[in-house]
């Protein structure tokens, strides 16, 4: 538990001192989503129809943007080796790094979503469902992405490879995330979709750290 806190605090402190990375993810999210009105036209009905999907897809890409750095810096400076050879269990290391990553690149997206929702004319009744879906879905993205981030350590152009590996796996999260918002807009209960997202988060929480830990052991060999 001590190790969990130490890794979490260290990663947050590093990111907040350097500042750039965390801010870049949110800015990318806001900018990319703001491009859509220019692309599809400012017609309110059309925007309202696609808003939830646009927000979800851009959130997905924004999370991917920061993920390749998840283990890379630690791998390059020898910290990862030291952590793997330390008494701290690998699962604790992976979970702590994932939580830090989500706090830095997942939570800010959720917080920025209401502004984008206004900008994209998302019907107000869809917003709570969308926020709930993002809160449940983005940690799943980070956890699944952690497997990819660990696998591509040592590969050249790891960022592109990571996206190719992970994006197909994130489709279910995307489908249910958008469905939750659409259901709420249509006056149907969003709860079933949120429950499925919650189930996916629990499954990722249970399985992804093991897979990422195994990949990290390979990486430090």
């Amino acid at each position: 538990m001590n190790a969990f806190r130490a890794i979490l605090v260290r990663d947050l402190r590093l990111a907040l001192r350097q500042g750039g990375d965390a801010a870049a993810v949110v800015l990318f999210f806001v900018l990319a989503a703001s491009l859509f009105p220019f692309g599809v036209g400012p017609e309110p009905n059309l925007l309202a129809r696609v808003a939830a999907g646009v927000i979800w897809v851009t959130a997905l890409l924004a999370v991917m943007l920061g993920l390749d750095r998840l283990f890379l810096a630690d791998h390059e400076d020898g910290s990862l080796e030291g952590m793997v050879a330390s008494p701290a269990p690998m699962l604790v290391i992976v979970l702590a790094k994932c939580l830090a990553q989500w706090l830095l690149s997942g939570l800010p997206l959720v917080l920025a979503t209401p502004i984008l929702a206004i900008f994209l004319q998302l019907p107000a009744e869809g917003l709570p469902a969308l926020l709930g879906a993002l809160l449940l879905g983005t940690p799943t993205l980070v956890l699944v992405g952690a497997i990819g981030a660990a696998l591509v350590l040592g590969a050249r152009r790891g960022g592109v490879l990571l996206a190719l590996l992970v994006l197909p796996l994130t489709v279910p999260v995307l489908i249910f995330g958008v469905a939750a918002a659409d259901a709420a807009i249509a006056g149907l209960p969003a709860r079933p979709h949120l429950l499925v997202l919650g189930a996916m988060l629990l499954a990722a929480l249970a399985a992804a750290p093991f897979a990422a830990a195994a990949a990290l052991r390979q990486a430090v060999e």
């Binding site: 590093l14 400076d77 910290s79 030291g82 008494p87 060999e221």
Partner: protein, 222 residues
């Protein structure tokens, strides 16, 4: 005097394969509590690989590692708890202060955070505790990395080129650390290209792609 229970770390018939190339095979060693084992040999002879094997970072292709006669592979968690690894990378974050860096490794080793400041002072970094690590020189960074050894009281130190970038005074500090550790009953295995004075040391010379005879005995003490 002995801070660590008398123990023995042995390797029997170890083989290592990297990238389909046999780095070494049939290699055996024995380190007893209170002694040091120095690995020497040219580049590519497998010094680092052997250390990584001992640290559990790399699985042996053949043979096994034993701690007091029990296979290390049976209980890797216990093995990690008794070893401290220091590889080529310093594992130092430039954005954190020296003290924050040391405290991080203290927490990972399960040592109290206060231990970090004492370790920094021991390595002569006390006055630099609040300095961001990005302003430290190469040698100071290496010394900061070495503070890890003093945290948490591990019995077995595995050091890969611990004195790279250190001046003569700092090398003397490291030698004193090693001597203290061995006097307390700890063990040290280090790979080095430059002479480092170690107490009660044996030397294991690795040769590139050496294929020792099948009945290879533990390396003799000099």
């Amino acid at each position: 005097m002995s801070a660590f229970a008398a123990s023995r770390f042995t390797g029997a018939g170890l083989g290592c394969v990297r990238g389909e190339r046999i780095v070494f095979q049939g290699l055996s060693f024995e380190v007893a509590g209170g002694t040091a084992l120095t690995l020497i040999g040219p580049n590519g002879a497998g010094k680092s690989s052997l250390l990584r094997l001992m640290a559990g970072l790399l699985a042996p292709a053949a043979g096994k590692l034993l701690w007091n006669g029990a296979p290390v592979a049976d209980d890797p968690d216990a093995h990690r708890a008794r070893l401290r690894w220091l590889g080529h990378g310093d594992g130092i974050k430039p954005g954190l202060s020296a003290l924050e860096n040391a405290a991080f490794w203290a927490a990972l080793a399960g040592a109290p955070g206060e231990a970090a400041l004492g370790a920094l002072q021991r390595m002569g970094l006390g006055p630099l505790a609040e300095t961001p690590a990005r302003f430290l020189s190469q040698g100071q960074r290496r010394r900061l990395a070495l503070t890890r050894l003093l945290l948490g009281g591990a019995a077995l130190w595995l050091l890969d080129e611990p004195t790279v970038g250190l001046d003569a005074g700092s090398v003397a500090v490291v030698e004193a650390l090693l001597a203290d550790h061995c006097r307390a009953g700890g063990m040290v295995v280090l790979a080095t290209h430059v002479p480092i004075a170690v107490p009660a040391g044996q030397v294991l010379e690795l040769t590139p792609a050496a294929v020792p005879p099948p009945s290879h005995s533990p390396s003799p003490s000099p």
